[in-house]
């Protein structure tokens, strides 16, 4: 994939010929090798050789974006024309911009030469382990993928970033059955830079398999109660991304509908909660190095001991609102651990749920959410009871982060995030 640099030079020549003064672009060559498993057996081997080219053209305070996957000279000329055309047809808005000169750098992450035979054997080993240790569980779908990318990003402020990345990822969607009784689907996945550890031991895989095998005969809850819901690491991550989307992301700050619009520096959550996006954390396999705005990526703490440190704004939203830009496009969530074990937290709950999935509508702009507790278990008098079905949870995202009862000291590292269990009080749980 070394020819990407030659293509970049070709593209620079095209842009120079067109006398464009301000632009930023990224060219990518990627390769995917993917093994698909269906119902415990190998089904399909897939290879994808792909390209990506994206340019943002800025002209007279107007911005246009064009992208495609054809890196031929003819296609790159058309891409440049499309970018110009999109910019010219846009109204003036000086808030569109990209980062000042960040210098030149080459990033190398992960493993660039995969061991596909060993990867396939690790997947076979996983299927065999599930069959042996969890005989009622079926691996409905598993996807094992090795992805390799080489990209170069350049802009007219002088920045040039190049990256060579390669990582393994694996996801297994599982169900369990006993005769005609079947569970729903649960799943877990992870990203890894090596093949040193059996896949069943990575991420939330064990928790997921334990959970699904105990969920074959769920019971409906009767009535309604206000209780404590313990979010598993993956579920907690989903909730925290909903909090970011609802309260501190570009759209809700630009249009002023965020409930945390003027809360930077204030206590918005329990002092137990510290949330950061840390692409440079050693537990993150493929953290961002260059942001979509052209900045060198940085670790950023969003909430520290419950205090909102910053909105998570890109450069356009920052320019539009006069608030600070965050040099981090997202992902790589790291939440600080608490001081109690998950067993201690469960023992402290009178009545509630251990919830590993939330299937709900998009929370309203006010943070109100309601949805179905999936792959969840009733907790009563400090003990985890049976699996539940047709059970709904209702609450408010702002209240969720305020009403944190405890955060576990155990952390789950999926390669993409580092998350504890989070126990939240005051959630309405309702059954039939």
């Amino acid at each position: 994939m070394s020819e990407i640099r030659e293509i970049v030079d070709l593209f620079d020549g095209i842009l120079k010929d067109k006398k464009l003064e301000k632009y930023t672009y990224t060219l990518v060559k990627s390769e995917k090798q993917e093994l698909n498993v269906e119902n415990d057996e190998f089904k399909l081997m897939r290879t994808v050789f792909n390209n990506y080219a994206s340019i943002k053209v800025f002209k007279d305070n107007k911005m246009g974006n064009a992208s495609g996957n054809d890196l031929s000279e003819e296609a790159l000329k058309k891409l440049a024309d499309d970018g110009v055309s999109a910019a010219e047809s846009s109204p003036e808005d000086p808030c569109h911009d990209f980062a000042p000169d960040q210098g030149k750098d080459v990033f190398r992450q992960g493993i660039y030469e995969p061991d596909m035979d060993r990867f396939i054997e690790r997947i076979k080993e996983f299927l065999a382990a599930v069959k042996k240790e969890y005989p009622q569980v079926k691996v409905m779908q598993a996807i094992g993928s090795y992805d390799r990318n080489n990209w170069i990003s350049r802009n007219t402020n002088g920045t040039e970033f190049e990256a060579f990345t390669g990582e393994y990822s694996f996801y297994a969607g599982v169900c369990a059955s006993d005769g005609e009784a079947t569970t729903g689907i649960d799943g877990a996945g992870f990203t890894a830079k090596d093949l040193d550890t059996p896949f069943i031991e990575l991420g939330e895989m064990r928790r997921c398999l334990d959970s699904i095998s105990k969920s074959i005969h769920p019971e409906s809850l009767e009535g309604k109660f206000e209780g404590t819901v313990i979010l598993t690491p993956g579920c907690a991550e989903n909730f925290l991304y909903m909090v970011i989307g609802n309260y501190i992301s570009d759209g809700v700050v630009i249009d002023g509908t965020s409930m945390w619009l003027d809360k930077v520096g204030e206590q918005v959550a329990s002092e137990k909660l510290t949330v950061a996006l840390k692409p440079y954390d050693e537990r993150i396999v493929m953290g961002e190095r260059g942001t979509q705005d052209g900045f060198r990526a940085e670790d950023v703490t969003l909430i520290e001991k419950g205090v909102l440190k910053t909105h998570r704004l890109g450069l356009y939203a920052s320019n539009k609102t006069g608030r600070p830009v965050v040099k981090n496009t997202g992902g790589a969530m790291v939440v600080e651990p608490g001081d109690k074990s998950i067993d201690e937290i469960i023992a402290s709950v009178d009545k509630g749920l251990l919830m590993s999935g939330f299937s709900g509508g998009q929370p309203g702009a006010n943070g109100e959410f309601s949805g179905v507790a999936k792959n969840s278990f009733l907790i009563e008098n400090g003990k985890v009871k049976g699996a539940v079905t047709e059970t709904m949870v209702n609450g408010n995202l702002g209240e969720v982060v305020k009403n944190i009862r405890a955060i576990s000291k155990e952390l789950t590292c999926s390669g993409d995030s580092v998350m504890p269990y989070i126990a939240v009080d005051g959630i309405i749980v309702s059954g039939k």
Binding site: M45, N69, Q141, G184, I185, K224, N366
Partner: protein, 462 residues
């Protein structure tokens, strides 16, 4: 449209295996205007060729982001190698070569006409200006143009071939207002459908009544109340009926999920709904007219026909690939589809619809003493058991047969084959939507439709 350079590459198809060669281009156009500011303005195209080679229940698939004869030869070779690699590591012996049920050429359905970005932006700004001027009391407004199209050329070793296109485009209008307590509430409406820009947006004024109706609903919603949680009698609107057809039932009768253990497996031939419920996955024609997103040929080379799923409350069929159809002794109906050139075909819905009944909408509402009228859904999910969830973004109380206060966002849930048995009134008209994406490893454009239905359902609330 793509030029056909693939025909002669058929000579390279190996004997004794099933091969499909597909060239494809996907186009996307997107403009987002947030409170008058253009925050996105983009055009993109992806183009390439893929091949799938199958035998003994194992498949090799390869794709390259090039559209050339050389790329076609490369993917055919790589797909064969992938199939061989899998056979080396697997003892799986599936169906050797599932039958094709016919071969030939499906005629091209229509052309794709590209619109200049300026025209798209002007249309969005016209809509935005209409909303800004007429409804200045809104807290916020967003206008989003999205367009995606597929242009596919398919050659199969033993089934149908063809060159088909599926363009669709929409303008989403989103409105936000604040309640007395200062909490924001939102609603959106998707305008447009199948076809290109000029097909849908040559006359923007035709959409103003729908925009006005959206504003009224937002104003109702800002005075809205939380639903009372519990098991309630409800009237589901047509959009909710479509969501039910797709999420709650449709996924459980996709044959790959049936093989995974879905609730539809042991229920084939059994009652799963009241006898008022009939459900069909339409290929390309509904009631003599083009279906919302017509499919004429799938990516395994199967000529698309309708797939009957439920007839008078009895589960009668699944949606299949060629392989699963053989396993379940059914005929494939053209449901195996991939989204981009790099995607292998998976079993996907097309235009999934619960058929209309005999009552009017007014009769349904008048029949409810204490319940809810649930009109629009933001999203939905379901799993193997048929347990489903829909987010409800627009709804009203029903008290003594009359509509009451609007509802704030809530969620409904149930188990499909239990909930459908409670359907006791069905309206005489179907409402369709086609703007959504279904997610199942890959995205896929799907149509869904349904009538109003009276039933019992679990609703979330305070």
């Amino acid at each position: 449209m793509l030029q056909d350079i693939l025909q002669k590459e058929k000579e390279l198809f190996e004997d004794g295996v099933q091969t499909v060669l597909r060239g494809q281009e996907n186009r996307n156009r997107r403009v987002v205007i947030l409170k008058g500011n253009i925050v996105q303005n983009s055009r993109s195209e992806s183009r390439g060729i893929n091949a799938r080679v199958g035998k003994d229940g194992l498949f090799g698939f390869a794709s390259i982001a090039e559209y050339s004869e050389e790329a076609a030869r490369k993917v055919l070779k790589a797909a064969s190698e992938n199939a061989a690699l899998l056979a080396h590591h697997s003892e799986n012996k599936g169906i050797v070569l599932p039958p094709s049920y016919g071969s030939g050429v499906i005629p091209t359905n229509r052309d794709i006409v590209d619109a200049e970005q300026k025209k798209i932006i002007d249309a969005c700004r016209t809509i935005d200006a209409y909303v800004e001027k007429k409804y200045p009391d809104l807290e916020s407004r967003t206008v989003v143009y999205t367009e995606d199209s597929q242009d596919r050329i398919i050659y199969s070793s033993d089934a149908y071939s063809g060159h088909l296109t599926t363009p669709r485009c929409y303008i989403y209008v989103m409105m936000s207002a604040k309640t007395k307590e200062g909490a924001p509430v939102e609603l959106f409406k998707a305008l447009g459908g199948y076809g290109c820009f000029e097909d849908n947006f040559a006359d923007l004024e035709q959409y103003y009544p729908e925009i006005d109706q959206l504003y009224k609903k937002v104003m109702d919603k800002k005075e809205g109340v939380y639903a009372e949680a519990g098991y309630k009698t409800v009237v589901l609107g047509g959009m909710m009926g479509g969501m039910l057809a797709h999420e709650a039932v449709g996924h459980t009768v996709e044959a790959d999920l049936v093989m995974g253990g879905s609730v539809a497996g042991p229920n084939l031939g059994k009652r799963v709904a009241s006898d008022l419920v009939t459900m069909i996955d339409y290929a390309h024609t509904y009631n003599g007219e083009t279906a919302p997103l017509p499919v004429y040929l799938d990516d395994e080379g199967t000529k698309a026909v309708d797939a009957e799923l439920i007839r008078d409350g009895i589960l009668t069929g699944y949606m299949n690939s060629r392989e699963t159809a053989e396993k379940y002794k059914m005929k494939p109906a053209g449901n195996a589809r991939g989204w981009t050139f790099s995607d292998e075909p998976l079993i996907r819905m097309r235009n999934t619809c619960i058929l209309p009944g005999k009552n009017t909408v007014e009769e349904l509402i008048e029949s409810v003493d204490d319940g809810y009228y649930l009109i629009d859904s933001g999203n939905g999910q379901a799993d193997l058991t048929g347990e489903f969830m829909f987010g409800v973004t627009c709804g009203y109380e029903i008290k003594n047969g009359k509509l009451g206060r609007a509802l704030l966002d809530t969620t409904v849930t149930g188990v499909a084959f239990e909930m459908l048995k409670t359907v006791d009134m069905v309206s005489d008209k179907v409402e369709w939507s086609s703007s959504g994406f279904c997610g199942k490893k890959q995205p896929m454009a799907v149509g869904m439709g349904g009538p109003h239905m009276r039933c019992k359902i679990m609703i979330g609330g305070r």
